[in-house]
Symmetry: C2
Subunit: 255 residues, 2 copies
DNA sequence: AAATTAATGTCGCAC
DNA sequence: GTGCGACGTTAATTT
């Protein structure tokens, strides 16, 4: 099992293990070993899936791809969709066994207690491989980018807008940008990276309310929603609640 | 290439194709063919990933699993996490090619225009397989279950609560359950399958407001949030806005 | 661990 | 297609 390095191939390369149409027992061995080593595993075959935890689900027989990650994540993917049809979050522990001669994988976690069970009637393939990924994703166009854009050019909100704090906490949560306008009125700015609906207006309204109580002053407080655009309903709600809107993209030049 | 059925194996079984450490050109052929056939593809290897669309991202070299689904979904999974580090939604079209002798997979979609590019420096394995999954997931413990529970036993809300409509539309959206109490006051019920925070209170409040305008009557309107539990802040907001709370689990017997 | 919010959220449904 | 809300949302951050 353990390679002592006396073979011909380059021992530096990780050699993935692949098995086509393996018997259940062979699959069990491979997967159990890989899970112990912390390898990533994929299993493709006809399976049933049971889940019980925050909700409860059953999935009858069909062809799916099961992915087991070294961090304890389990994913069951069908032929369709971005989302796995069933899954288990990182930190779960997987048990691999045979149940009535069928490959059976159980995954558990606590807090909340959740349980996932995948039983394979047939196995088309199993792969296992060691994984290392040192890189972090570099992402732009987020709400954070929009915040930086406003802080660098407060005039994008309106002339003489002066940011005073980010993440200013109120009893209702943190205000994205807190500042003052040219008349020294308090301004609550809520940022959204994309077109907003009624929920964003409600959020801004909560912050303005909370700040009013927090300052317990008669000072007028303005609320400004900053986003690329707003739906009709969002605009009506803004008007009803005397809140304002400023159209702004997270990235400059995105029109 | 096309099997005319004169071989020895059972031609009824789909035979997945697996390749270990394939040259880029072999991988390109296999993947291109599989994408054309509508097979599911997995590629594992060291790759870089670029994305541009609603946002923009770059990911330097590392070992990842790429999954291409017959519906046009693309997923790039690292060794960690439930979420793919990069992806492309269903309906995207994939192009497979060689770029400077490296396997290069481009995926595009429109509406919004988005672009994903995965370039493999090395390939540990490629798998392709035909997929069929006739089954639908059967899920319980959802908000829908909670609604049914309330409609079957309206007394769980309060004695003599009478549901009159579900999904009753208002200018602000649909009310989960609209009904009347023992005093013929209008009641807006908002259901949540799990513990609620401030956002749920805001939602209920919007519906109550909208209904008040819609009925344009002086009739008092009650708003009741029904969920397993509520956070402190949510409870304070409920009190401020004169809304009510009823503790209820989506599934009976879940405490 | 609980609370709150962002997300390339995705997904489904109604219009 | 847009709008709106649910989701076993997940993930990150802070308390």
């Amino acid at each position: 099992m353990t390679d002592t390095g006396d073979d011909h191939g380059p021992t530096f390369e990780r050699t993935p293990e692949l098995a086509v149409d393996p018997p259940a027992e062979t699959a069990r061995e491979r997967i159990a070993g890989a899970v112990d080593r912390g390898d990533m595993v994929t299993v493709f075959g006809r399976c049933r899936v049971e889940y019980d935890g925050r909700a409860k689900s059953t999935l009858g027989p069909g062809d799916r791809l099961l992915v087991l990650k070294p961090d304890g994540t389990a994913l069951v993917h069908t032929d369709e969709g971005h989302q796995p049809v069933n899954w288990q979050p990182p930190g779960s522990t997987h048990e691999v066994g045979l149940d009535d001669a069928q490959l059976h994988i159980e995954s558990r976690r606590t807090g909340p207690e959740e349980y996932l069970e995948v039983t394979f009637e047939s196995i088309e393939y199993v792969t296992t491989v060691d994984v290392t990924d040192p890189e972090d994703l570099s992402l732009s166009g987020t709400e954070e980018d929009l915040r930086e854009r406003v802080l660098e050019s407060p005039g994008l909100i309106e002339p003489d807008f002066e940011p005073l704090a980010t993440e200013r906490s109120t009893p209702a949560g943190a205000i994205d940008i807190y500042g003052e306008d040219s008349e020294n009125r308090a301004v609550v700015v809520e940022l959204k990276r994309r077109r907003v609906g009624p929920d964003a207006v409600g959020q801004l309204d909560r912050y303005v309310d909370a700040l009013a109580r927090d300052l317990h002053a008669d000072r007028e407080i303005r609320g400004i929603l900053v986003a690329p655009s707003a739906t009709d309903r969002a605009q009506e709600l803004l008007a009803e609640k005397n809140l304002e809107f400023v159209a702004l993209e997270p990235m400059p030049g995105e029109e």
